[in-house]
């Protein structure tokens, strides 16, 4: 029974991947670098008192979460590909490096 539980846990982890939380606070991404695997998700949080955004024009992982008001979470799933950078479209000094393993 234990074995079945372990196998099912392993299967669900590999199916759904890990979730990485990136907070947007003080006009910075925290952390500013994450290491992920394809299939993992990234949850963008916004702890600043104003809207943020996160986007990349990367060929494999292009996404744009749109306007993200304070307190709202947005989730994206990482696809296979090369490392990429994420910026906030409003505050371009914010930079997140995503390393794909």
């Amino acid at each position: 029974m234990k074995q079945i539980l372990l196998i099912s846990l392993f299967t669900s982890l590999s199916l759904f991947g890990a979730n990485h939380i990136v907070n947007q606070k003080g006009k910075t991404f925290i952390p500013h670098e994450i290491t992920v695997h394809p299939g993992d998700t990234i949850t963008f949080k916004n702890s600043d008192p104003f809207a943020h955004n996160a986007y990349t024009d990367d060929e494999d992982n292009e996404f744009d979460i749109g306007m993200q008001p304070t307190g709202e979470d947005k989730i994206i799933t990482v696809k296979p590909g090369n490392n990429f950078s994420v910026e906030c479209a409003i505050h371009p000094n914010m930079l997140l490096e995503v390393i794909i393993k």
Binding site: K27, F50, A51, D64, P69, A89, I90, N93
Partner: protein
């Protein structure tokens, strides 16, 4: 005894200076500007860039130079709403001429941030048909005929010579020297409590606090480089300026423009990307009330809300912003150019 007293007074003055500058680090001007690896500042490059910057032969009709719209005696702008007085052949540019002061510190250039370096920026106005209207395929041969320039390019860029890349690099090098001089606020930030008035100090507190100005005009350059739609127009923007949305149709970029620096802001009127506001007070009122239009503005920034400032508070903020102006940078405007 006297020496002890003097020592005590000296120590006390240090304590007072320390207290003054505590927490002020982020407002202090940096001691150097960022420079790309392949275009480090040298005297030869800056000097060459200075000549190119003021030389009207870089325009198609030999009438305009970079300085026509970004002149040191006009706050590094042209002091008119949308550059209509000097555009090539009387053509009207769509935007207010931005100051180039401290452009060296900015991550993005132009109101819409369409390029990321001064080198990329430098050739834009030269080739733009409403500005200097000089195609590069005409400019480079024209400059190559001027022996004095060929010589100067060889000195400044020995391995590259005179190319469109080195024209851009030289102008960018000069622009990297156009940075703020020490303003009364800088002396205050360093610890000289008497450098600005009590009203200005209260204005600074309002600026950081109740008025929320630092949500965009943040850091030593009084701009965080953010792109904001400040609600100057209501409704859809058809036929009007779409700002950064023209660079790419990203929803967050609809009608947004780069937050300008407030350094030397008293010298660079009129204000906003359309140059529609003549005074600093009017600009402050518009921003502190959440833009010209409170509602019905597509993609208006959520920091643009009414901060309910009274007139005295607006005046204090304006008084504070005036302390961000330093003495004019000593730039020698060339009267003779290479032949």
């Amino acid at each position: 005894m006297l020496r002890k007293l003097q020592l005590l007074m000296l120590l006390l003055s240090f304590v007072s200076l320390e207290a003054q500058s505590d927490g002020m680090e982020k407002w202090l001007l940096p001691t150097s500007v960022p420079q790309p690896k392949d275009n480090k500042l040298t005297q030869e490059r800056v000097e060459l860039g200075r000549l190119l910057y003021f030389d009207t032969r870089l325009s198609r009709g030999n009438q305009l130079s970079c300085a026509s719209c970004h002149h040191p005696e006009r706050g590094w702008t042209d002091l008119i709403p949308t550059s209509k007085a000097v555009g090539f052949d009387g053509r009207v540019g769509p935007r207010n001429s931005p100051t180039i002061l401290n452009a060296a510190y900015q991550k993005h250039q132009f109101w819409d941030g369409r390029v990321k370096s001064l080198e990329q920026q430098a050739l834009g106005p030269i080739t733009a048909d409403v500005e200097m209207n000089m195609p590069l395929e005409l400019l480079i041969p024209k400059l190559k005929k001027i022996k004095g320039y060929v010589k100067l390019f060889k000195k400044a860029y020995p391995d590259e010579g005179l190319t469109q890349k080195t024209v851009a690099k030289a102008i960018a090098s000069f622009e990297r020297t156009v940075v703020s001089t020490e303003s009364p606020f800088d002396r205050y930030a360093k610890g000289d409590a008497s450098a600005i008035s009590q009203e200005a100090k209260e204005g600074f507190e309002l600026f950081k606090g109740k008025a929320h100005c630092t949500e965009c005009h943040d850091g030593f350059n009084f701009s965080d480089g953010s792109f904001q739609n400040i609600g100057l127009h209501d409704g859809e923007l058809q036929g009007k300026e779409l700002g950064r949305y023209n660079v790419k149709n990203r929803a967050a970029w609809y009608g947004v423009f780069k937050t300008p620096t407030l350094r030397d802001v008293t010298k660079s009127y009129p204000y906003f990307h359309d140059g529609s506001v003549k005074t600093l007070k009017e600009a402050t009122v518009i921003c502190s009330q959440g833009g010209r239009f409170e509602h019905n503005v597509r993609n208006k920034s959520d920091v643009m809300v009414d901060r309910h400032l009274n007139e005295a508070e607006v005046e204090k903020i304006v008084t504070f912003m005036k302390t961000l102006t330093g003495p004019d940078l000593q730039i020698k405007i060339p009267t003779k150019f290479p032949q």
